[in-house]
Subunit: 107 residues, 2 copies
DNA sequence: TGACAATTTCGAGGAACGTCGTACTATGGA
DNA sequence: TCCATAGTACGACGTTCCTCGAAATTGTCA
């Protein structure tokens, strides 16, 4: 009833606020790296349920929050589903080559 | 006199054994990132004592071990001093753009 | 309205990490 | 030979991190 959207307002860092340390920390986890690879491959938005990860949904939420806070991914709310996408442009602008280098790694 | 070098034999991973996850984890720490930046800037080997970091020597040893185990740096022993250098070639070959992207980050 | 589906929040357990001080080894010079 | 120097090994301590389950929130559809 109260209009208090208890959902976090989906806050993302501006490009200026992103740091290479936060991005590296965000990428330095197998689950999150798998998420980034899937987003990079699909080239389109992917809902949380559409991601294949070996963890619970609550853990997935946690990882997506870290990726979003670091500026690696963007989230767009649409009804009850949240669509995620890679912030390729911002990453390439700030750290040219970083994302491609990570994605180039075998397996 | 005994030739038993109790020092760890300075083991480095082969290029084939390096993983992007280990490299990212190694880079995802402010102290280690500072080390990498100094090695990249100096373009020559740097002894442990020549690195400017805000931690104790024992902690520095720990960080250098992580960087070496991940394949980010190489160590060469010469007397009592150990010289460290960036494994640029291997990193660029495996993850083209990664290192440059990290180093391109402002600050 | 009521049930269901998609996701988040909260709290807790356990593992991994960064840090330090102290003790130790090894090399080189006086 | 003795001492200073360069760096490592070993615990130990506190913090951060990953993980989960249970409960709560929001939107959709019948």
């Amino acid at each position: 009833m109260a209009a208090t959207t208890h959902l976090t307002p989906l806050v993302h860092p501006e490009r200026d606020e992103m740091t290479v340390e936060a991005v590296l920390r965000a990428l330095a986890d197998p689950v999150r790296l798998a998420i980034v690879r899937q987003l990079a491959r699909s080239e389109a938005e992917v809902s949380c349920g559409g991601l294949e990860v070996p963890v619970t949904k609550s853990t997935l939420t946690h990882h997506l929050g870290i990726l979003r806070t670091a500026g690696v991914i963007a989230g767009r709310q649409d009804g009850t589903t949240r669509f995620n996408s890679l912030r390729r442009n911002d990453l390439d602008e700030l750290f040219p080559g970083l994302l491609d280098g990570v994605l180039a790694a075998r397996r």
